[in-house]
């Protein structure tokens, strides 16, 4: 081959190789782009799938989506908030909202010396680590006998939102409610003189009393005033026990503002349970409002025999007790000069149907307050749901009231209802007993 021809062939070969290399580069770029495209496609599919999950609340049947709540259910759901609610000042208690009284009440709540035997404080039965209950079916008293009390120890979170206190509503104020266990011989078993002595004899308590009430602890001749003041300080402390927000609260507010993504974070089972609670189950008729209680009393068909031959009269006894109580809101110890806060007590109606009625408890933190009912006979939330599912109508309607019907829930529905009740557990609680430090006397 002539030299010139070889040079031409070499040039052509070189050009071909360059084009081949360019082609390979382009092919590689194309493959990279294709791969990137596939990655983007995959990511898009993942995002799409996540969006669908968020929109539907997970692997939820269509009937359980927020869009499937009936207008009545949504209205009922909205009634359970917002949370927390402001605690109103108690006009019958001049210590209500008083920071010094709160400090005194907190000190007394955890002080076993409030009992003359020094074996029981309020916090012995209202344990902070047990949502201010004791985990027993019925409370346990003090002294050597440690008697079994008649009723379940009520939780104390959010009690300030009520109007009646105790399972029978035998107290019409938080402070008269606090007096009962202090004085009851089976519980703290104290006297007014003992409480006054404690307040006078402990420098820190005496200082806190003076700060709270603007005077020294009353003398021997006025020990009852010291007792009631101690109860009012305890009530001021109890008013501060407001639980934090729950998963339900987040859902309720998300529903109110139309935030589907936030609402979708609420577990699907809880949402189905909520639909039962606010719909078919009509639970929210009595477990009404932001605190999940209408604050009143109902007979739900629970046995009320305390022991053979002795019946717990429930609300019937509570009405009589509050009427006869010298510490009620119509009495001389109320700080409400108008007595307007005693209007409920003044207008109380009493009838036979009150037998066997007990207070509708709040359901906030209900998961933490087992066992359940006025005598703690139901150990778990599942048992509670079963009770309402299988109600004995003959027992319920003996007095003519036709409020409750057996819900006849399936196992899956029962589990959903339990999931909803668990979603009412607060995600945060205030510190119940922060170290108060020594009392510093105010300048009066």
């Amino acid at each position: 081959m002539p030299r010139a021809a070889r040079l031409v062939a070499a040039a052509l070969l070189a050009r071909g190789l360059v084009r081949l290399a360019s082609g390979l580069v382009l092919l590689t770029r194309g493959l990279v782009l294709l791969a990137r495209g596939l990655v983007l496609l995959a990511r898009s599919l993942v995002l799409l799938a996540r969006s669908l999950v968020l929109l539907t609340g997970g692997l939820v049947p269509p009937a359980a989506t927020s869009a499937a709540h009936t207008p009545e259910e949504i209205r009922n759901i909205q009634r359970h908030g917002p949370w927390p609610q402001a605690v109103p000042r108690d006009p019958s208690n001049r210590a209500s909202g008083n920071i010094d009284a709160i400090a005194l009440g907190r000190a007394l709540f955890f002080d076993p010396r409030l009992s003359p035997r020094e074996d029981l404080a309020c916090a012995t039965c209202h344990l902070p680590e047990r949502a201010l209950t004791d985990g027993r079916d019925r409370g346990q008293g003090g002294g050597a006998a440690k008697p079994r009390l008649d009723r379940n120890t009520p939780g104390l979170w959010n009690t300030a939102h009520g109007h009646w206190f105790g399972w029978d509503g035998g107290a019409d104020s938080l402070w008269s409610f606090a007096l009962r266990p202090i004085l009851h011989p089976d519980e703290l078993g104290a006297s007014a003189a003992h409480v006054a002595r404690l307040l006078r004899g402990d420098a820190n308590l005496a200082c806190r009393y003076r700060n709270a009430f603007g005077r020294a602890v009353p003398p021997e001749a006025a020990v009852e005033t010291a007792l009631v003041d101690a109860a009012k300080a305890l009530a001021a402390y109890l008013e501060t026990l407001v639980s934090g927000r729950s998963a339900f609260d987040e859902f309720r507010d998300a529903l109110a503002r139309g935030d589907a993504a936030a609402a979708a974070r609420y577990p699907a089972a809880a949402r189905r349970g909520l639909a039962l609670f606010a719909g078919k189950g009509q639970c929210s008729v009595c477990h009404f409002g932001p605190n999940f209680s209408n604050g009143e009393f109902h007979n739900i068909g629970m046995p009320h025999l305390v022991e053979p031959g002795r019946v717990d009269p429930g609300r019937h006894g509570g009405i009589r007790r509050v009427r006869e109580d010298k510490y009620n809101l119509l009495g001389a110890f109320s700080d409400d000069a108008t007595r307007a806060s005693g209007s409920r007590t003044l207008h109380l109606a009493e009838n036979h149907a009150n037998y066997g009625q007990f207070k509708v408890p709040s359901l906030r933190n209900v998961e933490l307050t087992a066992p359940y009912m006025h005598d703690g006979r139901l150990a778990t939330l599942r048992e509670v749901v079963r009770h309402y599912s299988e109600l004995d109508e003959d027992r319920l309607h003996q007095d003519g009231e036709a409020l409750l019907k057996p819900l006849r829930l399936s196992d899956a529905e029962s589990e959903d209802l339990v999931a909803f009740l668990r979603s009412l557990t607060s995600r945060s609680f205030p510190d119940l007993n922060p170290a108060p430090g020594p009392c510093k006397r105010r300048g009066f």
């Binding site: 008729v285 409002g289 209408n294 604050g295 409920r344 207008h347 109380l348 109606a349 009231e401 409020l403």
Partner: protein
Amino acid sequence: MMRTAMPAAGALRGVALAALLVASPAAYAACDAGPGVLRGETPKVALAFRTTPPVIKVGELFSLQAQVCPQEGVSVAGLKVDAGMPAHKHGMNYQPRVSSTGAGKYTATGLMFHMPGQWQFTFDVETPAGRERIRVDYTAE
């Protein structure tokens, strides 16, 4: 809201007795409904009332102010007030107190609806010829 008038039956709670009031047809017409006013009637007696607060809040005490308007020749001796939930077959947990403020007017205090749903007011107007019962439905939200 529906209003229905029913014949007298059963015992009631809150009651106020007033001097006999004999009214004219004009007085009967004075019980016409208006903004915020609820009304019920029988052939002999009409009754109009408003509540305080105007919208009843579940679980909160409220009062009501009523005007009784009898037909001509009918005298009124007093008024009883009660309420209940017919579907649930229960009444209120509180006993209202009724007082006459004169000229066929009454005030009832201490009423409370402790549940949402359909409630029914029952007014028993006492006349020498017997009791005239007026029922007025109310939905508590």
